[in-house]
Amino acid sequence: MIARVAAKAGFHEAGRPLLSAERKASISAWASKCGWAIISVGMFALIWELLWAVGLADPKLLPPPHVFLGNFVEQARNFNTAQRWQIGAGVAAGPTPWEAVGITILSSTGRVFTGLLLAAVGSIVLGVSIRYSGWAERLILPTVTLLAPVSPVAWLPVAIFLFGIGNGPAVFMVFIALFFTMTLSTIAQIDAVDRNFINVARTMGATKRQIYARVVVPAILPGLLVVLRLNLFGAWMVVLVAEATGVGYGLGQVIMLARNTFNPSLVFFTITLIGLLGFGFDWLLRKVQARVLYWVPENKVIAGV
């Protein structure tokens, strides 16, 4: 048992090297990447701290990192997710500060993820149908092209009319921000599919349906995942706007609260959280991409951002 655990953890058995050379190289490459990331962010923070130290950055307006990251519990109090303000509930009622931050992050993330998923599935289905059927193209494409350039902010009132407050409008906003552009980019990807792939299927007697199911859809997936990743940041921007206008709770609501109560520390604290979340999400999508699209070379998967 112990031996198995040890082997799993990478400890050597009977003189074999701890890690293979390849693994070592990849770890050291990863470590140097991390190192540079820390240096980059560290330098940014350091300049900020210096500006504060010499008195150029007013801590009431631009509190330096050690201030806005320093009092976590104080900040977390504002991530109010329970009905603490309701009559009868004490100041101490509701979730602990850690739970409050967790719930806020999870609800924003959930909205981004749900909207992204719905938009991705919807746009692939619609884009493929538009190219599959001439009727679908003539009936739907003009409307899609017309709506694609409309800023998602313009949809905000519609989101509130339709869904009131809650998760609905935020998910709708993410969906609407991505759906039309992703439909158009699905069509562009279909048009860019290698003619040879399609001709191969045709010479082997494939029907139109088989060509779409077995050639076109797999061929456009790599490009679509890149589009999805690029739109991820857009989704985060939109969800904050939606939350800021009264969804109840979420990172956007916290920012709005910070604005209304003139609390720059809270703003920067939340910005830090959002930055970390966006980074984490992007990393996750890259991993998904590498796993799902095993046939696309690594450098092509990473390229694009």
């Binding site: 001709n199 191969v200 045709r202 010479t203 070379p297």
Partner: protein
């Protein structure tokens, strides 16, 4: 004599016919390919020889004349006429064996039957070990052999090849030519092979069809009566190369002049 595999009569093809961008690719093509015959289409780049191949494959529609395969007019693609492309056309998301049996999968054949068919076809092209590899793990020559194996699983009576070895280095190309002749002999299929290489034409063909440039017309049909395996340095091979070079020179000059005029 059995019925011919491919018959073209006064075959013509104009791209974008009736529009301002109309461009005549082929004119008055008269050609018969016998069953089991190896015919090479030789001509300068852009002369329409690939277009002819696409017409025979049924991937494009012709505007003029008639085109028949085994007595029936060509109206669309058929597994009977298998096209092998210039660039590798393996689907990158499928493994080698899945690529080889793609056509069988389209017909809904079960996995075991497909794996068996892939094994057989891959052993014929000398790639039994590559069953479970992915296309990007293979060299260019190996990929083209997989493409040939994929065509063979459809048991075509005509193999259409569009400069299949153009992207390969010289040594690999020579090997691939020997390999192709083996496959051709054992399959009994007719081959219609497009190239702009005179050496390649002399090494492979029963008959060489020299195609002129813009529009593509048949300038000459040169029979190659040399026993196989062929010695590329024999007197007869030298003579044929000289003859084909002469036939091609005017065409290349003309194509060149035209391209310069465009530029």
């Amino acid at each position: 004599m059995s019925e011919p595999a491919i018959v073209c009569r006064n075959l013509g093809m104009t791209w974008n016919a009736g529009t301002a961008r109309a461009h005549e690719a082929l004119r008055d093509i008269n050609l018969e390919v016998r069953p089991g015959e190896f015919v090479v289409l030789l001509g300068p780049s852009g002369c329409g020889k690939s277009t002819l191949l696409y017409l025979v494959a049924g991937l494009e529609a012709y505007n003029l004349g008639t085109l028949e395969a085994f007595g029936a007019a060509v109206s669309g693609p058929s597994p009977d006429r298998s096209l092998i492309f210039q660039q590798t056309s393996l689907l990158p998301w499928l493994s080698v064996w899945q690529n080889v049996t793609f056509g069988l999968a389209l017909r809904g054949e079960p996995v075991e039957a497909r794996r068996a068919a892939a094994k057989e076809a891959l052993s014929r092209v000398g790639l039994s070990d590559a069953m479970d590899k992915r296309p990007d793990e293979l060299s260019g020559g190996m990929r083209q052999r997989v493409a040939v194996a994929r065509s063979l699983t459809m048991r075509p009576r005509v193999l259409l090849m569009d400069e299949p070895f153009a992207a390969l280095d010289v040594q690999t190309r020579a090997k691939m030519q020997d390999f192709l002749l083996d496959v051709w002999r054992s399959s009994g299929a007719s081959v219609l092979f497009v190239t702009h290489g005179i050496e390649e034409a002399v090494a492979l063909a029963d008959r060489v069809v020299v195609v002129t440039a813009r529009p593509g017309r048949i300038k000459a049909i040169v029979p190659v009566d040399m026993p196989r395996p062929r010695d590329p340095f024999s007197r007869e091979a030298e003579r044929l190369r000289a003859e084909l070079t002469g036939l091609l020179r005017d065409e290349v000059d003309r194509a060149f002049a035209e391209q310069e005029a465009f530029a």
